[in-house]
């Protein structure tokens, strides 16, 4: 799996393949960086944001997957899985807090996202195989896994199918429940489906030549803000600097333009939650009380009946879908307490 990636279609930064890791920056950590974060990380304009210590491309069955790591390479690994239309660098504040506690934090850009290769095909199974490739390249032993939104839902399915990979599972507002479809007649529901399907097909007819819309850094941040209304503008600007690329006519998000919100298919969101009760590893769910466009609309009373034995679901009041971005200290503390309480300590292991 750790083969050199060749013939990559790269946009923006050029990541080295696995056998040529990006050397850690030599600059000292900025004064406003996370206390205890790995020395030598690149300064960022956003307070607390720390660039990864190592970034490289992994060949996952012919798709170049960009892997980002924070913390000592000798520490025990902990995996972070991002949500749909996000990328690993959205953990720039959250991940260093876990690394500071002694974990080797490993995240990756899902295919078509961030610095990973744009693929011809995207699917849930494809994302799961890419996740397996990253995990296999890091460890053969069970490790803690934290997933946000779509990443959380993906990891519920992988934990159900391949529990041997997971020592713990933390789900950050990523438990799908029923779609929020208004109460409409069957006839009207069919018409709504027709609109979704033809809209998607029309989009597919244009993807061969489509590009993301260019703009200034601030314009991209404002566009993202329409989907992330609770997040600070300065954070959204930071996301542009790591999740977009600049060319002659402006900045564009790196995400594959063939991808779009919505879509259709036979999968029903509520099926994911039925996998929860059987999970054998310690489980912690963290939900934000405030509902947002990018969230699943799942409420605590939806989750409680499906919790696995010993599992917990905590709710953060006045927090939206991006719990780890709105409250990075609180969520990192909850995660570290959860790992500590069930016998896992990256700090102790990392020192070995």
């Amino acid at each position: 799996m750790r083969n050199r990636v060749t013939g990559q279609r790269r946009r923006g930064r050029n990541l080295a393949p696995m056998d040529e890791p990006t050397p850690p920056p030599s600059a000292a950590a900025p004064p406003d960086a996370t206390p205890g974060a790995t020395p030598g990380a690149t300064p960022s304009v956003f307070p607390g944001a720390v660039s990864p210590d190592r970034e490289y491309l992994l060949d996952a069955g012919g798709i170049g997957i960009a892997v980002h790591e924070w913390g000592s390479e000798q520490a025990d690994p902990l995996f972070l899985v991002h949500g749909g239309f996000d990328f690993a660098r959205t953990y720039d504040v959250f991940a260093p807090k876990l690394a500071a506690a002694g974990w080797r934090v490993v995240s990756w850009d899902q295919r078509g996202h961030g610095d990973s290769e744009h693929a011809a095909l995207y699917s849930w199974d494809g994302d799961l195989r890419d996740a397996m490739a990253v995990m296999d390249s890091i460890t053969q032993y069970p490790a803690p896994v934290i997933g946000h939104s779509k990443g959380g839902s993906l990891m519920i399915q992988l934990a159900d199918a391949q529990p041997f990979r997971f020592s713990h599972l933390v789900n950050l507002d990523g438990i799908p429940y029923k779609r929020r479809i208004p109460d409409v007649s069957e006839h009207e529901r069919t018409r709504m489906a027709a609109g979704e399907i033809t809209g998607w097909l029309d989009h597919r007819r244009s993807t061969a030549t489509s590009q993301r819309k260019p703009g200034t850094l601030e314009e991209l941040a404002r566009r993202r803000g329409r989907m992330n209304p609770r997040l600070p503008f300065e954070w959204l600007c930071h996301l542009v600097t790591v999740g977009a690329f600049e060319s002659e006519d402006g900045w564009r998000w790196k995400i594959d333009p063939s991808m779009r919100f919505g879509g259709f298919g036979p999968w029903r969101p509520e099926w994911t939650i039925t996998r929860l009760p059987g999970l054998p590893m310690p489980f912690l769910g963290i939900l934000g009380r405030e509902q947002e466009e990018m969230g699943w609309g799942t409420l605590p009373h939806h989750v409680y009946p499906y919790l696995p034995l010993g599992g917990r679901c905590e709710v953060l009041e006045d927090v939206g879908h991006f719990v780890h971005i709105e409250q990075p200290d609180v969520v990192a503390g909850m995660v570290l307490d959860f790992l500590e309480a069930s016998g896992a300590s990256g700090a102790n292991r990392g020192a070995a």
Binding site: R111, A119, S123, G126, R129, D160, Q162, T190, G263
Partner: protein, 218 residues
């Protein structure tokens, strides 16, 4: 060897085979899972008066085999939609599908009801598909194969979910074509999704010959 037009669907080149010419509505053939398009007009389609075309799905025949898998029946639908767009000069089309292609033909007839005058669903590889609900299936990485079909296509499209109520949605959508019976089921074997389809209003149960004769006359 038939003439072939290469169509672009996102990053994939799709082979559309020109099996015969004619006057009137085009007939589009969709192959089964793991198959490729025929290179001559099948005997059962010889009487079709219009041009006959056949599409190689992604990962099959002369179409691109992409890296990393990620197949779904919906992506195959978008493949078929690329062929539909390429045949627009002939007006609405009639579509015949074998196995996996039958499922895709049904979806195309529903998704593009105004542009499809009849879909014939036939037996063939990949007809059953996967389960009708959540399963305990695991996930594996597959070694590449030198020649098509793509192993990921075989693996993923043989287990894609096919809930009956999802399939019947496309029958209801196909009724917008204006035909009283826009779908014809010619398959002898009827997995749950197809059994449900066959029971819907607007579905004709007929042989391939009968179905093609019916659709050629509308």
């Amino acid at each position: 060897m038939s003439d072939v037009t290469m169509l672009t669907h996102n990053r994939v080149q799709l082979a559309l085979h020109h099996l015969s010419e004619g006057t009137g509505r085009a007939l589009l053939l969709l192959h089964g899972l793991g198959e490729a398009s025929p290179v001559v007009v099948p005997a059962w389609a010889a009487a079709w008066p219009g041009p006959v075309r056949a599409l190689d799905f992604t990962g099959h025949g002369r179409s691109t085999v992409p890296a990393g898998g990620g197949y779904s029946a919906e992506i195959m639908l978008a493949d078929a939609d690329a062929a539909l767009a390429a045949l627009a000069e002939h007006g609405p089309i009639t579509v015949v599908g074998r196995g996996l292609g039958a499922y895709v033909a049904l979806m195309l007839a529903g998704a593009r009801a105004a542009d499809v005058r009849g879909a014939v669903l036939c037996d063939g590889p990949g007809l059953a598909g996967g389960a009708i609900g959540p399963t305990s299936q695991s996930f594996v990485a597959l070694p590449p194969r030198e020649l098509p079909p793509d192993p990921y296509a075989l693996f993923e499209l043989s287990r894609d979910l096919r809930p009956p109520d999802y399939a019947t949605l496309f029958v209801r959508l196909a009724l917008d074509s204006g035909l009283d019976e826009p779908i014809a089921v010619a398959a002898k074997v009827r997995p749950p999704w197809l059994a449900a389809v066959a029971e819907e209003v607007g579905v004709l149960n007929a042989t391939v010959d009968e179905a093609l004769a019916t659709f050629a006359a509308v």
